[in-house]
Amino acid sequence: MTIRELDVDELFHAALNGNRRALGRLLTLIELGGSAADAIADQSFHRQHGVPVIGITGAPGAGKSTLTGQLLRTLPELGLRPAVIAVDPSSPLTGGAILGDRVRMDDVSGDHGFIRSVATRGHAGGLALSVPGCARLFDSAGYDPVIIETVGVGQVEVDVAGAADTTVVVVTPGWGDAVQANKAGLLEVADLFVINKADREGANDTRRDLELMLDLSHVSGQHQEYRPPIILTTAVDGHGVDHLWEAIVAHRSHLERSGELTRRRQARFRFEVMSRLNDHLSSMVDTITATIDDRSGRSPASLSAELLNSILAPDAGRLR
């Protein structure tokens, strides 16, 4: 039987037994959404171990992929089996995408890891559900940790960053990146900063600037309990990558000790349920309003009130 002929249960079983093709197929089904995605979501929800989910974000050219590649290389030495979800934007005009991140991760995705490239496909909302779904699938299939890599310049990335337990923001020496990061709202979501290409001039100035920004945000009430550390790396030759991992582990401990991990996961759970509800409801709304017009003489206010009652009525169609 070919992979495409298997159903979700069979695929799941195969994936848990190490069949990478099956896992690849399941990831596709999650991205597609619909009943297959929901079935996978159920299965993986019950099988998840709660492995660390790490978000790596930052401006283009900061060296995120190279950094991730280094992690993929070193984590197996610690007995871990990492999975990477590399998110890149789709063309708003054509819907297509060129996904080139995995190249920099240097072909290490053999037995030790798994790399999946994901395009935004034009709807940020969809990504906010499919990426956590993929992360949970990797978790249930035995991968640890799950790394989500995004280009940190917009709301999409901030949303996706919400799927991570630890968010790493990567900048390079020079004022530009740090300002960009701040503007994109990444300063608030950052649990950890990396100054990559730290062999360049200006690395220490950038560190100082970041510390200053953190001082200010501390004053305004953020980062009260945990001040994001700043790690210097040179990803191309691996310098500092071990410190980065130590900092990630340390953050994880903090999350567990302080109860923050539970709080974040609850918040994400709520967000996921809310997103799904919103999606369901908005397609219901689309369906219902598809054929209405103003010829009935009813005002929008009264017409919508009536439609809402019909949706909420006890004998309205079930969601599933």
């Binding site: 596709t28 597609l32 959404g33 054509t94 297509g96 995408a97 995995r102 190249v103 999946r116």
Partner: protein, 136 residues
């Protein structure tokens, strides 16, 4: 219940060059052509091995693999790639683009290559070839 996301996903194509051949002008143009046609291109680029291409095709659930060849190695390399895909149980079409003399086309096709694109093939032809290969 209405599905929450797109019902059909874009075609996903792995593009790569095997071995040492460094001529990537054509493969980059093909990548853009396919993206402009709404496809998702997993661009591996240069210096790939059959192992790295198979890993990508598996992990990315690719619909097709496209290899670009300019160094007259196609008669040795195409069968190697086909064998690697077969060994991994990957039933995805292999499309070869680049400098392939006409006389070699039947040889490659008999070996299992799904389609062959010549240098400078127009965009419409490239897109149609990929779509047809995936549909089969």
């Amino acid at each position: 219940m209405a599905d929450t996301f797109n019902e059909t996903r874009p075609i996903r194509v792995v593009l790569a060059k095997l071995g040492l051949d460094g001529h990537d002008r054509g493969i980059k143009i093909v990548a853009r052509i396919l993206r402009d046609a709404g496809m998702e291109v997993i661009y591996l680029g240069l210096r790939q091995t059959t192992a790295s291409i198979v890993a990508a095709a598996e992990e990315e659930d690719a619909d097709a693999v496209g290899l670009s060849m300019h160094n007259a190695g196609h008669l040795a390399l195409a069968p190697k790639m086909l064998a690697a895909l077969r060994d991994a149980d990957l039933d995805v079409p292999l499309i070869i683009g680049g400098i392939i003399p006409d006389v070699d086309i039947p040889v490659l096709t008999d070996a299992g290559v799904a389609a062959i694109l010549g240098p400078g093939a127009p965009a419409e032809q490239v897109v149609a070839t990929v779509r047809n290969a995936v549909a089969r």
